[in-house]
């Protein structure tokens, strides 16, 4: 029996794995020491737990445990990496212009874009790369933007709205050749796809607990220690925890949960990935084969197994969400809806350049079933057909009228 609503928004957040919750519980009431307390057993036990979690995270990343810094999540990790590296490797001190050049892309997450925009106001120069229609930032695109004063490149590993995979190892190699620091926001990637900091040429990598079936409010930043040894100016000053990169008493239960989630992800990644890829492809085929003027956004192959983003012509976003209310997913209206914020990610790909599209992001997870996917595909097809029956634009499209040539009464 299907239970409603069906959760297909795992790119927004995932449920905590019960094994993670179980691992965390003793650290609230029994092992409650501060890992910074060096004089008693309570502190030592908490420190042991944090060290173990650090090993678990490092194992998933293919890194050394010393290279993992715990934070409150990817937003903080991104801010620390970008602001911290920019200030450390600046070409001129605060208050002056031309402090250095940073490269990122327009369809990054806001937690990357906004720190970059702030740095822009503070005297850094930022290039925001525009993706091609397939959404993928290539090494060539980054290379073309590089300058002698480039100090930092920040390109996400996989996009959160469309799941496309950027050329991270190749971009990293370019940066290493030129002594440029390379940061990647790997929030959607880590725990879903194999990661090896040795061969992937990443200097700084952000990840989050709650995207990989761990708890919310905890995440990490990988900071490379050799070739090159990366240094950062901290955002938060205080007790000097986390090698001075991030002061503040450690969130021990959260960190234990993050570690456990990483351990489980490492064990189940391959099996989960294959299963989800099969389900996602079925979902896409089932929807696109039954509806015209519908497209899956982003590169056809170079995408995460569990995320799909589909656009539907001549259907308005909010009414589509209303019609599939039993499915919890995310809408990214490409352009047309007055009531829904247009997605800058889809806009950057040119989705919605033709009039009147709306889009759904569906992201599957560890407990998504075939039945849920089948129900969802049917619900979407039914909803789109119903709304198209109501849509004067779909009639006009079928009559061969070019909607962009109609003189609309703008109001």
């Amino acid at each position: 029996m299907l239970k409603f609503p069906i959760y297909l928004d795992h790119a927004a957040t995932t449920p905590c794995d019960p094994r993670v919750v179980e691992a965390m519980l003793p650290y609230f009431t029994q092992v409650y020491g501060n890992p910074g307390s060096r004089n008693h057993r309570f502190g030592w036990e908490a420190e042991e737990a944090v060290d173990r979690a650090r090993e678990q995270c490092a194992a998933l990343l293919g890194a050394d445990a010393k290279e993992v810094i715990f934070t409150s999540g990817s937003t903080e990790s991104n801010n620390l990496a970008i602001r911290g590296a920019a200030q450390m490797y600046e070409k001129a001190p605060a208050g002056s212009a031309n402090r250095g050049h940073i490269i990122t892309a327009v369809h990054e997450h806001k937690a990357v874009l906004d720190p970059c925009k702030r740095l822009q106001k503070e005297g850094f120069d930022v290039t925001f790369l525009e993706p091609p229609r397939d959404g993928i930032i290539t090494a060539e695109a980054v290379q073309a933007a590089m300058r002698p004063d480039t100090i930092l490149v920040s390109i996400m590993w996989a996009n959160n709205e469309i799941g496309t995979i950027n050329e991270v190892p190749r971009i990293g190699a370019l940066c290493h050749d030129r002594d440029i620091i390379f940061h990647t926001d790997a929030t959607q990637w880590v725990g879903k796809m194999p990661t090896n900091m040795e061969t992937d040429n990443v200097d700084l990598l952000s990840f989050s607990g709650h995207k990989l079936y761990g708890p919310k409010g905890v995440g990490g930043l990988y900071v490379r220690r050799r070739r090159p040894r990366v240094r950062l100016v901290p955002l938060v000053d205080g007790g000097g925890q986390e090698r001075g990169f991030r002061s503040g008493t450690l969130n021990v239960p959260g960190i234990v949960g993050l570690g456990k989630a990483c351990e489980i992800a490492q064990q189940e990644m391959e099996k989960d990935g294959q299963r989800l890829l099969t389900l996602r492809k079925k979902l896409e085929d089932s929807v696109t084969s039954r509806l015209d003027t519908t497209q899956v956004n982003g590169h056809a192959e170079k995408r995460l197994p569990h995320i799909t983003n589909i656009s539907f012509g001549f259907v308005e976003g909010e009414s589509l969400m209303m019609a599939i209310k039993e499915v919890a997913c995310s809408s990214g209206s490409a352009c047309t809806s007055a009531s829904l914020e247009p997605s800058y990610v889809l806009k950057s790909l040119g989705v919605g350049d033709d009039l009147a599209h709306s889009s759904l992001r569906l992201s599957l997870g560890r407990w998504t079933t075939q039945d849920q996917v089948d129900y969802t595909a049917d619900a979407i097809v039914k909803a789109v057909n119903k709304l198209r029956e109501l849509s004067p634009l779909y009639d006009m499209h079928k009559e061969g009228i070019d909607l962009s040539k109609v003189e609309w009464a703008h109001h």
Binding site: F314, V315, E316, G317, E318, S319, M322, C335, T336, S337, A338, S339, L355, A356, E389, L390, S391, P392, L393, Y394, D395, M396, E399, I401, L403, W408, A409, H410, H411
Partner: protein
């Protein structure tokens, strides 16, 4: 968005969906008035067609709507109210009545304005086709 029951009811079972022919087909039919208002990039387009008998009474009305739940409900309600009304009675329908009937939330008031525009536009189209004077204020205009 939390909608009232009446909006959801109209959204789920919209009344009088359809048309009396394609745009090309109804263009020269003197008994049909057509209103097409809104714009795709604004997220709402309403098409309203009215069929008027020789006594000047709106015998039937059909709509199609690209838009949110409130826009669909507003146009559905408009067709219900128009049926059986004279042209003057149709013109007397005000967007505020639609707001009240459906309990539209403040951010959705533009949907009722669009429905009123659609009514005015369809009636003006009918009058023009039949050589009747059209009050400029009655015709839907860009605003």
């Amino acid at each position: 968005m939390a909608y009232g029951d009446k909006i959801i009811e109209h959204y789920e079972r919209p009344r009088n969906v359809g048309n009396f022919g394609t745009q090309a087909e109804v263009k020269n039919r003197k008994d049909i008035g057509v209103g097409l208002v809104g714009a795709p990039e604004c997220g709402d387009v309403m098409q309203l067609q009215i069929k008027v008998n020789q006594e000047g009474v709106i015998e039937d009305a059909r709509f199609k709507c690209f838009g949110c739940g409130s826009a669909i409900a507003s146009s559905s309600l408009a067709t219900e109210w128009l049926k059986g009304k004279t042209l003057d009675e149709g013109l007397a329908i005000k967007n505020t009545q639609i707001v009240e009937e459906l309990s539209l939330p403040p951010v959705k008031i533009h949907c009722s304005v669009l429905a009123e525009d659609a009514i005015r536009s369809a009636i003006a189209d009918y009058k023009q086709k039949n050589g009747m004077p059209v009050d400029e204020r009655q015709a839907a205009s860009a605003h």
